[in-house]
C-alpha cells in the first residue's frame, strides 16, 4: 500500500529560524527518491517533516501542506502518532533499542500497535528480518541484545524494525554513512527490493549512491548561512546526473560547489 507524497509550499522552522522554505514536490508511490545537497541545506529537516518528527524538537514548527494520498498530514485533527505509524524511518546512526533483544527490537513497532499474539509476532519478525537481509545472520541469536551486532547489522536491524509494521513510506536519512562499502551495497540492494512495496525517500551525500538506487533526485541548497534551504530542482535521476536543468545543480554534482 505504498502512498504518494506531495508537499505544497512547505516551510519548516526551528524557533525563529527558517530551515527550509517553500518546498513543493511530488513523490510517486513505489519509487526511490534521493535528496542531495550541501551540509546544512535542510535535507534532514525536510525528511523529518514527512513523518511529523520535526515537531518533536522544542520550538520547531511547519507551515504548508503535506499530502499523503490527498490527506494533509498537517491538517486539523490529524494525530501525529498515527502518521508516524504509517511512515517508517531509518536514521543516520543505527539506533536499535539497547535494552532490547534483536527480536524485541523488530517487534517493538507491532507491540506499540497492540499486537500481542506470539505467532503473529514470530512471523512478522522473521519476515522483516528476511526483508532486511539479516535473518540468516541473526536467526540463532534473536534473544541477544541488538546493540551487540556490527554497525551494518544494526542498521539493517533498524530497517527491519521500520518495515515490520508494513509502513506505506520509508524514510532514510543517510542510512549508509556509518557503514563500510559491503554493508552499503547490501542496503542499496535491499532498497531496490523494498521499492516494490514502499515509497522510499533517502537522504545521501554519496552521489554514486543516489545515481545507483534512485529513480528521482532532488537537489537542495542554501544561498548563504542563515538563509533557508530551498529545493532547487527535482527530476529523473538520469537527467539530474547527465543534464540538470540548473547550473547550481551541475556545479554541485561535478564538485564545483563553493
Amino acid at each position: 500500500m505504498a502512498k504518494r507524497i506531495e508537499s505544497v509550499g512547505l516551510s519548516a522552522y526551528y524557533g525563529g529560524f527558517r530551515a527550509i522554505e517553500d518546498v513543493s514536490v511530488v513523490i510517486e508511490p513505489k519509487t526511490i527518491t534521493a535528496l542531495i545537497g550541501p551540509s546544512g541545506c535542510g535535507k534532514s529537516t525536510f525528511l523529518r517533516t514527512l513523518n511529523r518528527l520535526h515537531e518533536v524538537v522544542p520550538g520547531a514548527r511547519v507551515t504548508g501542506q503535506l499530502l499523503l494520498d490527498d490527506e494533509d498530514i498537517y491538517g486539523p485533527g490529524v494525530d501525529a502518532t498515527g502518521v508516524r505509524r504509517t511512515i517508517g524511518m531509518v536514521f543516520q546512526r543505527p539506533n536499535p533499542f539497547p535494552t532490547m533483544s534483536i527480536y524485541d527490537n523488530v517487534a517493538a513497532g507491532l507491540r506499540l500497535n497492540g499486537v500481542k499474539r506470539k505467532g503473529v509476532l514470530d512471523d512478522a519478525v522473521e519476515r522483516s528480518l528476511q526483508g532486511a537481509n539479516l535473518w540468516k545472520e541473526v536467526k540463532d541469536r534473536l534473544t541477544k541484545p541488538g546493540a551487540g551486532l556490527s554497525g551494518g547489522q544494526q542498521q539493517r536491524l533498524c530497517i527491519a524494525r521500520a518495515i515490520a509494521v508494513e509502513p506505506q513510506v520509508l524514510l532514510m536519512d543517510e542510512p549508509c554513512s556509518a557503514l563500510d562499502p559491503i554493508s552499503t551495497l547490501a542496503i542499496e540492494d535491499l532498497m531496490t527490493e523494498l521499492k516494490d512495496r514502499f515509497t522510499i525517500v533517502i537522504v545521501t551525500h554519496n552521489m554514486q549512491q543516489a545515481a545507483r538506487v534512485s529513480d528521482r533526485t532532488g537537489f537542495f541548497t542554501i544561498e548563504a548561512t542563515g538563509e533557508p534551504g530551498r529545493l532547487v530542482e527535482i527530476d529523473d535521476t538520469q537527467k539530474i546526473f547527465s543534464n540538470p536543468g540548473e547550473k547550481r545543480t551541475e556545479d554541485y554534482i561535478t564538485g564545483r560547489f563553493g
Binding site: 522544542p58 536499535p96 539497547p98 532490547m100 551487540g148 556490527s150 524494525r161 521500520a162
Partner: protein, 342 residues
C-alpha cells in the same frame, strides 16, 4: 552507580570500518615527554591503588572493632539474640534480642520505599520529559533542595505537624479497611510505624527523584526518536525507550534511598514510640522500633554491656544493608548485556 559496569561503546564508525589499523602501534622513540607520561601513569595507579586499599582497610578495621566490642555483651546475654523480642541489656541479667528491631527496620523502610518510589519516578519523569523547561528547572532545584534538608528537621516536622494528620488517617483506615493485615491492631494511633514510614518516604523521595531524573535525562535523543518514529505516544516512548534505559540507574537510586531509610536515626527516634514487638499493625502506637533509632535513644544511658548490645545491633544493620546492596547488584548484573550504552 552502575556506570562502571556498562559495556564499552561499540558504535564508533572508525572501528566498524574494515581495514582500520588495529595492529599494535610501532614503539615510539622514548622522548622525555613520553617518559613523563609513564611516570604520571604509574604515580596515578599507585595513588588510586593505595586509596582503594586504605578504604578496604578502614572498613575492615570498623568491622573488627565492632565484632570485638559486641562479643562480650553477646556472651553475657541471657536471652536469645536472634529470636527474643526484648531489649533490656542494662539489667544485671542482660536480655536482648534483635528480631523486633530488625523487623521494624525492614518493615518501615520497605513501606517507605513503596510509598516513595512511584511518586519519585513520576516526579523524575515529569521533570525530565513532560514539564516545560522553565518549570522543570524550578522543580529540579526544589527537589535537590529537599534532598539536602537535615533529617532532624523532617523528624520535628513529623512529630509536631504530621502526627495529628496521621492519627486521623489511621483511624479512618482502621475503621474502613481494618480487615487489611497492615491496618489491624488496637485503637490507639499516632507515633506509629506508619508515621515513621511516611516521614522516611518523604525523606528518601527527593533522593530517588533527583537521581532518577539525572538518569532519564541521559537517555539519548536517538533512542527517543526511534520510538517516536515508530508511532509511539509520549507515554509509550517513555515506556519503550526511557524507562528500560534508565532501569539500572533507577535501581541504584532506589537502593540508595532504601539504604538511607534503613539507617535513618534521628527522624525515626523523634517520631516513633518504641516497642519491641514483631507486628504488622503499623497504625498502632507502640507498633515497633528500628535499629538505628534504638541506638540513638539508648546509647547515652547504656552500661558497657548495653553498649556492646547496641554495637551488635549495629552489626546486624550493617549486614542488612549489605544484603540489600548485593541483591541490587545482582539485579543489575543479570541484565548487563542489555544495559543501554550507545
Amino acid at each position: 552507580m552502575s556506570l562502571g559496569s556498562l559495556p564499552p561503546v561499540t558504535t564508533d564508525p572508525a572501528s566498524a570500518r574494515p581495514g582500520a589499523p588495529d595492529q599494535p602501534v610501532p614503539s615510539l622513540p622514548r622522548t622525555a615527554g613520553r617518559t613523563a607520561e609513564r611516570r604520571g601513569d604509574r604515580a596515578f595507579r599507585g595513588l588510586s591503588l593505595s586509596a582503594g586499599l586504605s578504604l578496604l582497610g578502614i572498613i575492615l578495621a570498623i568491622a573488627v572493632f565492632l565484632v570485638v566490642k559486641a562479643i562480650p555483651a553477646l556472651q553475657d546475654n541471657t536471652a536469645s539474640f536472634l529470636t527474643d523480642r526484648v531489649w533490656d541489656p542494662n539489667n544485671a541479667q542482660p536480655a536482648f534480642g534483635i528480631v523486633a528491631l530488625a523487623f521494624g527496620t525492614v518493615l518501615s523502610s520497605v513501606l517507605a520505599l513503596l510509598m516513595a518510589l512511584p511518586v519519585a519516578l513520576g516526579v523524575a519523569l515529569f521533570i525530565s520529559h513532560v514539564a516545560p523547561r522553565r518549570l522543570a528547572g524550578v522543580l529540579g532545584y526544589v527537589i535537590d533542595l529537599l534532598a539536602a534538608v537535615p533529617s532532624v528537621v523532617y523528624g520535628l516536622w513529623g512529630i509536631f505537624f504530621l502526627n495529628d494528620k496521621v492519627v486521623v488517617a489511621s483511624a479512618f483506615l482502621h475503621e474502613h479497611a481494618g480487615w487489611f493485615p497492615l491496618f489491624g491492631g488496637d485503637d490507639i494511633f499516632g507515633r506509629s510505624i506508619f508515621l515513621a514510614s511516611i516521614v522516611l518516604a518523604i525523606m528518601i523521595l527527593p533522593i530517588i527523584a533527583s537521581l532518577s531524573r539525572e538518569v532519564f535525562l541521559q537517555v539519548p535523543v536517538s533512542q527517543q526518536e526511534a520510538a517516536l518514529a515508530l508511532g509511539a505516544t509520549r507515554w509509550e516512548m517513555i515506556r519503550t525507550a526511557v524507562l528500560p534505559f534508565g532501569k539500572p540507574g533507577v535501581i541504584g537510586a532506589t537502593m540508595l534511598g532504601l539504604g538511607r531509610a534503613l539507617g535513618e536515626t534521628i527522624a525515626v527516634a523523634i517520631v516513633l514510640s518504641p516497642a519491641f514487638v514483631v507486628s504488622l499493625d503499623i497504625l498502632s502506637t507502640n507498633s515497633g522500633n528500628t535499629i538505628a533509632a534504638n541506638v540513638a535513644l539508648g546509647f547515652a544511658e547504656a552500661s558497657s554491656t548495653g553498649r556492646g548490645a547496641l554495637i551488635a545491633s549495629g552489626l546486624v544493620l550493617f549486614a542488612i544493608t549489605l544484603v540489600v546492596n548485593v541483591i541490587a547488584r545482582a539485579i543489575i548484573y543479570r541484565r548487563r548485556e542489555f544495559a543501554g550504552a550507545l
